[in-house]
């Protein structure tokens, strides 16, 4: 039996509380939701995993990452390339090099390979990124995003660019993604409360001080960075395994900002913030999108208003930064809310 | 002229100064002494409005405690801050020009500048060099000259002798003495108590955010309290 510190114990309690919420949303939508709503909630869960992957690095090391959607894409494409049946690949990727169209693997093996590939890529890039100052690191992550996207677009023989990469077996349903999301929440919380997580957060508050205490900042940042990339790869796999088709477009700037807004609104410092922000924006945006189509509301025929969701998203970021830069949750996790009410 | 009452200064959530009161009368040199971390620089920051504070800062009868930094400077307060903080990427001349930013009269500005140049020939010599290339003592002189370019009614000097060689320190204190003779009102923050007390008409001793003693230079110079606070020997 591993002995847990008190912060790790409360981390588990918090993760359990979040798990209850995640299961409850899933049960509700499974029994009462339409097919469309199930799809919507599924994508919210995938985004939740992305935001959690983002939180591991951004929240603990406090360095803005803009490349997360690229890592998600790497995971998705790697899994898709491994798992798609040869027959389909022969049609869709007739010019694939290195015998990529000559094999297909079982979904679990494909997923594992995708995770390892993404983690290795992250490790190599991370060796450089973790040594940079905050703005410099952010700029390099931006470069990573642009480069990865350019490769997706350029190597159409492997990735099909902006066209659909189809024929991925649809092996996941809502239940699988909820289970994975819950596991991710637990992993993120355990990392946050681990010795590494605590030291990393301390070093973000006071780099010089933490270094003087013997904290190896670069190593800790690298661990968080790679762990984040693994989670992002998982999110990409979930995305591919549910939809069955992927393309390069969803792994670029729009998705970067969407997920960034989620994390910022909820509060990047906590796992609870990541969960809260994801659901608030996922469901909030759906409401805005409904307005965008120009519905009849209270007897008034509203005009079509494309761009409303984008405005809402941007406004959320600007307002959060101006009014509450640490997001809704600030430094509090879910169990802190209950603890305060008790006392 | 400058009256401070029940001043509390905060750095974020931390209270650095716990309700001090002091007075700087017109034409006098008042010294604020105390060891490192006593809250001297915090007090200066509160007077200029840089640090958040509660309590009263009254200057020539006017309550400045709710005014912006810029308004306080415009009222006639000038500061040569701790660490000098000259604009090292600007030339010596440009530093002085910025010091006189609020002065409208170009002729007066030129006259002031020439006056300070004649007093500090080394600055005149290096007028077009980046201020960052000056030595520590020259930078300190530039910082004081920059503050004086604003033609202030009170001059706040924060640790002007910090980190300088004894010979330079003497020069700086000679300069302060001559400023005082010309009638400048001065609030001098120092750790170098001996030198400061030689100049000051009246002195306050701070420790841990409070004023623990005050009196004329003679009175304070003789007190054991001063030595105890400054040397840490009880």
């Amino acid at each position: 039996m591993i002995r847990l510190s008190s912060s790790q114990r409360s981390g588990l309690v918090g993760a359990a509380l979040l798990a209850v919420v995640l299961v409850a949303i899933g049960v509700l939508v499974t029994y009462f939701g339409s097919r469309y709503q199930i799809r919507l909630v599924y994508s919210a869960y995938v985004n939740l995993i992305v935001v959690l992957g983002l939180q591991v690095f951004m929240g603990n090391a406090r360095i803005t990452n803009l490349s997360h959607s690229a890592f998600m894409g790497v995971g998705a494409y790697a899994a898709a390339l491994c798992v798609t049946p040869e027959k389909i690949k022969k049609i869709s990727l007739p010019e694939a090099p290195w015998g990529l169209a000559e094999f297909s693997l079982d979904p679990v093996v494909a997923a594992l390979i995708a995770i390892v590939v993404t983690a290795l890529l992250a490790l190599v890039l991370g060796l450089f990124i973790v040594r940079l100052t905050s703005t410099g690191a952010t700029i390099v992550t931006l470069a990573v995003l642009v480069i990865v996207h350019a490769i997706f677009l350029y190597r159409t023989d492997i990735f099909k660019g902006n066209q659909a990469f189809f024929g991925i077996p649809q092996v996941f349903d809502l239940t699988s993604v909820i289970v994975i999301a819950i596991l991710t929440v637990i992993a993120c919380r355990m990392f946050r409360e681990s010795r590494w997580g605590i030291q990393l957060r301390a070093s973000a508050d006071d780099e010089v001080g933490a270094a003087a205490m013997g904290v190896q900042i670069y190593r800790l940042r690298l661990i968080a960075w790679v762990l984040g990339a693994v989670i992002l790869a998982v999110a990409g796999i979930c995305y591919a395994y549910f939809l069955g088709t992927i393309s390069a477009r969803p792994f670029y700037f729009n998705h970067v900002f969407l997920t960034l807004a989620m994390l910022i609104l909820g509060g990047m410092r906590t796992v609870t913030g990541a969960v809260l922000g994801t659901f608030l924006i996922s469901f909030g945006l759906e409401g805005v999108r409904y307005l965008e189509t120009g519905p009849v509301f209270l007897g008034i025929d509203l005009p079509e208003a494309l761009g409303l969701s984008g405005i809402a998203l941007g406004a959320v970021i600007v307002l959060t930064m101006a009014l509450r830069p640490t997001g809704i949750m600030g430094n509090r996790e879910i169990e802190d809310l209950f603890a305060r009410q008790k006392s | 002229m400058l009256i401070i009452q029940d001043l509390h200064v905060f750095h974020g959530p931390i209270e650095a100064v716990h309700g001090i009161s002091l007075e700087v009368p017109q034409g006098k040199c008042i010294s604020l002494l105390g060891p490192n971390g006593a809250g001297k620089t915090s007090t200066i920051s509160a007077i200029t409005g840089i640090a958040r504070s509660t309590g009263e800062v009254r200057f020539e009868g006017r309550d400045l405690s709710r005014e912006s930094v810029e308004a306080r400077i415009a009222a006639g307060i000038a500061v040569s801050p701790e660490g000098r903080r000259i604009f090292s990427n600007l030339t010596v001349l440009e530093n002085l020009t910025l010091g006189a930013a609020l002065q409208k009269n170009a002729k007066e500005k030129a006259r002031d500048r020439d006056h300070w140049f004649s007093l500090f020939p080394i600055l005149a010599e290096r007028r077009d060099q980046p201020a960052g290339t000056l030595s520590g003592g020259e930078q300190q002189m530039l910082a004081i000259a920059r503050a004086l370019m604003a033609r202030p009614r009170i001059l706040l000097l924060d640790e002007p002798s910090l980190g300088l060689a004894p010979k330079i320190v003497r020069q700086i204190f000679d300069l302060i003495a001559s400023l005082k003779e010309q009638g400048m009102t001065i609030l001098l923050v120092e750790q170098n108590a001996t030198q400061a007390l030689r100049l000051a008409d009246y002195a306050y001793l701070m420790s841990s955010g409070r004023i623990v003693a005050h009196g004329t230079a003679d009175e304070l110079g003789k007190s054991d309290r001063l030595m105890a606070e400054l040397t840490g020997v009880a």
């Binding site: 700029i139 470069a143 480069i147 970021i317 | 640090a51 810029e70 801050p81 604009f87 609020l102």
Partner: protein
């Protein structure tokens, strides 16, 4: 030989545009550490102003150009007031994210209130005609752009060296608090920096629009990304660095176009960003990064 001269001139004219754009970013960054990603949308504001003039059937090119520049300056000033003032003292990350947010809002406002599709603006085509000197082909637009950049650099230098406010802007990049302690109002310094930034965006807008002939909500995205790269390469916050970075980027891009095989054409951006990343790893603060100095206390 002529081919080389041709390409060098091309690189210079690319570089001039990037320098213009990068200066706009650098001047704001230098005083408040803000990477203003909404700079691209300021350019788009200029573009849509031209559309507005066209719909009012005002064709006088000087009114159109002047109006666009003025609109860009106003927009920049407004953003400072509305969006960036609340995060003035915040850390760079907060500012960067705010700028992203502002950029998204503006893009979508164009989308919502104007159109998601490109709108043609033909009033500036007259600026562009081919010139041939000694066998070297140039576009008049390239010449105008290079001239404008030179004039801007000279004017900016005069402003920064000869005026009190200009000195304050330079000093503020080092120690903003000390600038306030000389009595110069912080709001004026910020407003001035954003005004200049808007002016530069407006000027860049004229050339971008004259070349593209149309405006869409994403008009500013590509240019600001390039400007950003130029700033990074040159050293963020350093104005000479921004100019240097702009010209370097122009040279790299032309070199890429010349040297990369046709089949790799789509990868130009990737290579450019790769170079940026490598420069940052080599020199984390850029080539001409300004010295960072801070007082011991406060």
């Amino acid at each position: 030989m002529e081919y080389i001269i041709q390409q060098v001139l091309n690189a210079l004219s690319f570089g001039a545009e990037y320098a213009l754009l990068a200066l706009g970013l650098a001047i704001v960054f230098s005083i408040m550490g803000l990477v203003n990603f909404a700079h691209g949308e300021i350019i788009a504001v200029g573009g849509y102003t031209m559309v507005a003039f066209a719909s009012l059937s005002i064709g006088n090119p000087f009114i159109v150009m002047g109006g666009a520049v003025l609109a860009a300056m106003l927009a920049s000033l407004t953003l400072e007031r509305v969006a960036f003032r609340p995060v003035r003292k915040a850390d760079p990350t907060t500012g960067l994210l705010t700028a992203f947010g502002v950029s998204i809002v503006l893009q979508n406002l164009f989308l919502l209130f104007v159109s998601p599709r490109p709108i043609a603006v033909t009033s500036l085509y007259f600026l562009d005609w081919p010139i041939e000197i000694a066998g070297i082909r140039l576009a008049s637009l390239q010449v105008f752009e290079a001239l404008t950049t030179i004039i801007v650099i000279v004017a900016l230098m005069l402003f920064l060296r000869r005026t009190v406010l200009g000195l304050a802007v330079r000093a503020a990049s080092l120690d903003f608090e000390m600038v306030r302690l000389t009595g110069i109002r912080a709001n004026r310094v910020f407003a001035m920096a954003f005004l200049i930034s808007g002016l530069l965006a407006g000027l860049a807008c004229i050339f971008i629009m004259a070349r593209r002939g149309s405006v869409d909500p994403h008009l500013g995205f590509e240019p600001v990304l390039k400007a950003f790269v130029a700033c990074v390469v040159g050293g963020f916050g350093s104005l000479p660095g921004a100019v240097l970075g702009g010209f370097l980027l122009g040279a790299v891009e032309v070199a890429m176009l010349v040297m990369l095989p046709q089949s790799l054409g789509g990868m130009t951006d990737a290579f450019v960003f790769m170079i940026v990343a490598m420069i940052l790893i080599w020199r984390p603060d850029g080539i001409l990064s300004p010295a960072v100095e801070k007082g011991d206390k406060l």
